[in-house]
């Protein structure tokens, strides 16, 4: 039977059947997509929208909220801790990149070159990531104790003067960077290690035949071959380190003398200690806008390298 001979009514009936078949074929995908969408909608997008709304309102969650324009932003701007919070956050990000970016990469290269105990060392490097963050941070509180802490004991062993670590405005921030690097380097190392293992070994063999030493091999093969992952990790790390909170919250309380107060710590203070959730949201919105710039760059890089 040819198509032309099928009655018109029957043809009409067949079209929805096709659609139904297509829907049925993709039903599983739609189901899972629906779940993800609901999760994102309720736990990410809705809170973000609420955050934007709350940052322009004054509310006590009892009476109807009042629109106050930019008042919450003005409150945050006039806070004496506002400028130190941004400066400290920027400094922390910079220092965390210097330490937290280079150390995992170098560790990954070393692990990649090892012939023995590689699995064991990988586990050791990743171990701090498995510790609950609060436990890791509080462990360092003991290490940093100026009187009986591990670090000053080590310095003393080498006849070096002890440091005040968290107790001094000049060393408190870098002390937090050390904690952060130690706690997070495991994940970075594993990602770099995975990237290193995708580099064809022929490239290294050819370079060795040409007489290239270790540093030349790293410079001309390793870094160019892992450029994309390095760039992506850089941006992700900027986004993550700018949200530093747990280290100042648990170790220094933003002190001494505001030297470790960060943007997210200040947000916490507003929302939960100062009873001004609206001002906390205004500060959060500012941080979100800054992080969106880095996220946009990240998305752009990911897209350019996917297409």
């Amino acid at each position: 039977m040819t198509t032309a001979s099928i009655p018109v009514a029957n043809r009409r009936r067949r079209q929805p059947t096709k659609l139904r078949r297509a829907v049925r074929r993709n039903l599983t995908a739609y189901g899972f997509l629906c779940g993800a969408l609901i999760c994102f909608a309720f736990f990410s997008w809705y809170p973000m929208v609420r955050q934007v709304i709350l940052s322009f309102q004054k509310t006590n969650f009892v009476d109807a909220p009042e629109w106050v324009g930019l008042k919450n932003f003005r409150t945050v701007f006039s806070d004496p801790a506002f400028a130190p919070a941004w400066i400290n956050t920027a400094m922390f990000t910079l220092l965390a990149l210097l330490c937290g970016y280079a150390i995992p990469f170098v560790t990954a290269i070393v692990l990649n070159e090892l012939r023995h105990a590689r699995a064991y060392l990988r586990f050791v490097v990743y171990l701090p990531v498995m510790l609950p963050p609060a436990v890791g941070v509080l462990l360092f509180q003991w290490f940093y104790n100026p009187d009986y802490g591990l670090f000053n004991q080590i310095l003393s062993f080498f006849h070096l003067p002890g440091l005040q670590w968290l107790n001094s405005t000049s060393t408190a921030l870098i002390s937090l960077v050390i904690v952060s690097t130690w706690m997070n380097m495991g994940s970075g190392t594993l990602i770099y290690l995975a990237a290193l293992q995708t580099i064809p070994s022929e490239l290294y063999e050819a370079a060795e035949l040409d007489g290239a030493g270790l540093f030349k091999r790293i410079r001309h093969i390793t870094i160019p071959q892992t450029k994309l992952i390095l760039l992506v990790m850089l941006l992700l790390q900027i986004v993550a380190t700018m949200q530093v909170f747990i280290e100042p919250y648990l170790l220094t309380g933003g002190g001494p003398e505001n030297s470790t107060v960060t943007v997210v710590y200040l947000m916490y203070q507003y929302a939960f200690n100062f009873g001004s959730l609206n001002a906390g949201n205004a500060l959060g919105l500012m941080l979100m806008l800054v992080l969106m710039v880095f996220s946009a760059i990240y998305l752009r890089i990911s897209r350019d390298n996917t297409v």
């Binding site: 629906c34 609901i38 009892v62 409150t75 006039s78 004496p80 933003g254 002190g255 001494p256 200690n273």
Partner: protein, 460 residues
């Protein structure tokens, strides 16, 4: 189950869960559930309460549950439908989400530093019309003032005490000091701290907070003691850049850097100094009488080693403590029922927390000179004092210095509704003098003053 069916179930489940989340804000807790306001005090009403002691504290939890049962028996029309035991009882991280979602208990606990802010932001019910129904209300001492604003009452204190000087008697003895004659002046504190620090590594003569808003809190206690203030009477200006404020910082600076009697560890957040004190190598700290019980119950300190005496040279004492407020969404019937619960559980001599016969039989500490809620000459005040003395099971001598030395000293409340913001700013000078030998006290006070003035101006 096939993957397709699984995905459908998953999606449906999430949708239902999400719908549940969405509706929670309109559900509310017990507050708002009851019928319209009723003039009948015997109308059926349901309330929720918080601050049940945790399961780990079996004895106090048992007394709490006994009180819940006893209360409902006494008032058959009142149902306590929900009791929560989240710790800490007042958690600023969950307070507003619970209030927004309707999950905040009808009767909720609040510590003194947060009282002013909750009143200012309208997050506590006005209970002025109901408080006169409470028998013990007229007997309250000045601790009630903190819960009042513009002639209205927004809550009731259930625990109260003035600041003092907590010290370790064992450490005093080791240092050759007389534990029965603790320091009465700051010069004596300095001298004692030097002797204690000289005992060797790890010994700290005098411990002090410097961060997490606790530095500002203790600065406030110290400046009050010296006769100063933190904010002006109208609450619009900073008032601590004075000789009294300067003396507080200079005293600490001298002990830390000249005498080297404060150790080099910074104490951030309330538990830090408590842990150090319980550790047995710290000589003295500012603290109220409740610190002794907390050192014993929560930090494993040897109770018999500690004592509390009056704050040195004190002209006024920072009033510490806690109380209860009522959910602003509560109906009049719920407010009335909630106040009856507070009265039964916390305010009636011989009942609830003031049932010292029961406390003694359950081996809970009896004899500590708090809660200090009622005027000494009132019927309630006398009843509490007599009951406490008759059932004391701890050495009253450990508190005697504080009791005697604090008599007649004016209690002073937290510095207004923005106390926490002020404390955060005052953390800076406190941490500065404890971390920098060359810290300029005048400059620190001047900077902090400008910051507090700016903050207060932005609130008005």
């Amino acid at each position: 189950m096939k993957p397709r069916n699984l995905s459908i179930v998953l999606a449906a489940g999430l949708a239902l869960a999400a719908a549940g989340c969405g509706s929670s804000s309109s559900d509310g807790g017990d507050a708002g559930k009851s019928a319209a306001p009723s003039a009948n005090p015997n109308a059926p009403v349901s309330i929720s309460v918080n601050c049940e002691p945790p399961k780990t504290n079996k004895a106090e939890r048992a007394t709490f549950e006994e009180d819940v049962a006893g209360f409902q028996k006494l008032y058959p029309n009142i149902t306590i439908s929900k009791v929560t035991d989240a710790f800490p009882c007042y958690d600023p991280k969950t307070f507003e989400p619970k209030l927004a979602s309707g999950d905040l208990e009808t009767v909720f606990y609040v510590n003194f530093p947060n009282v002013g802010r909750l009143i200012e932001s309208g997050q506590a019910a006005d209970i002025s019309s109901y408080v006169n129904e409470l028998k013990t209300y007229p007997d309250y001492n000045s601790s009630l003032d903190l819960f009042k604003k513009d002639g209205k009452v927004y809550g009731l204190p259930t625990d109260g005490y003035g600041m003092g000087l907590v010290y370790n008697k064992e450490v005093f003895t080791k240092a050759g000091l007389d534990p029965n004659s603790p320091p009465k002046t700051w010069a004596e504190v300095q001298a004692a701290a030097k002797k204690i620090a000289a005992l060797g590594p790890g010994y700290v003569g005098y411990g002090e907070y410097s961060g997490g808003n606790t530095g500002g809190w203790h600065f406030t206690a110290s400046i009050y003691g010296r006769g100063g203030s933190v904010i002006s009477d109208d609450g619009k200006k900073a008032a601590f850049n004075t000789p009294e404020g300067k003396a507080v910082l200079q005293n600490l600076q001298q002990m830390r850097w000249t005498d080297n009697s404060m150790g080099s560890q910074l104490y951030i957040e309330w538990p830090a100094l408590m842990k150090a004190m319980a550790g047995g190598k710290m000589g003295m700290m500012l603290g109220a009488p409740d610190v002794l019980i907390s050192l014993r119950n929560d930090f494993g300190g040897k109770f018999e080693n500690y004592a509390v005496t009056a704050q040195p040279e004190a002209k006024a004492l920072l009033n510490g403590g806690a109380g209860y407020m009522i959910n602003p969404k509560a109906t009049p019937d719920q407010i009335r029922a909630g106040l009856k619960w507070i009265e039964y559980k916390f305010l009636t001599p011989g009942k609830g927390q003031l049932d010292y016969v029961r406390a003694k039989s359950q081996n809970l500490t009896v004899g500590q000179p708090y809660p200090d809620l009622y005027g000494a000459d009132t019927a309630s005040g006398k009843a509490v004092t007599d009951l406490r003395a008759a059932n004391a099971n701890i050495d009253a001598a450990q508190f005697a210095g504080w009791v005697e030395g604090s008599k007649g000293i004016t209690p002073k409340p937290e510095p207004g509704p923005y106390a926490q913001e002020i404390y955060a700013i005052l953390d800076t000078p406190m941490s500065a003098v404890l971390t920098r030998k060359d810290a300029n006290v005048d400059q620190l006070l001047s900077d902090a003053e400008a910051k507090v003035n700016s903050m207060l101006a932005s609130k008005s």
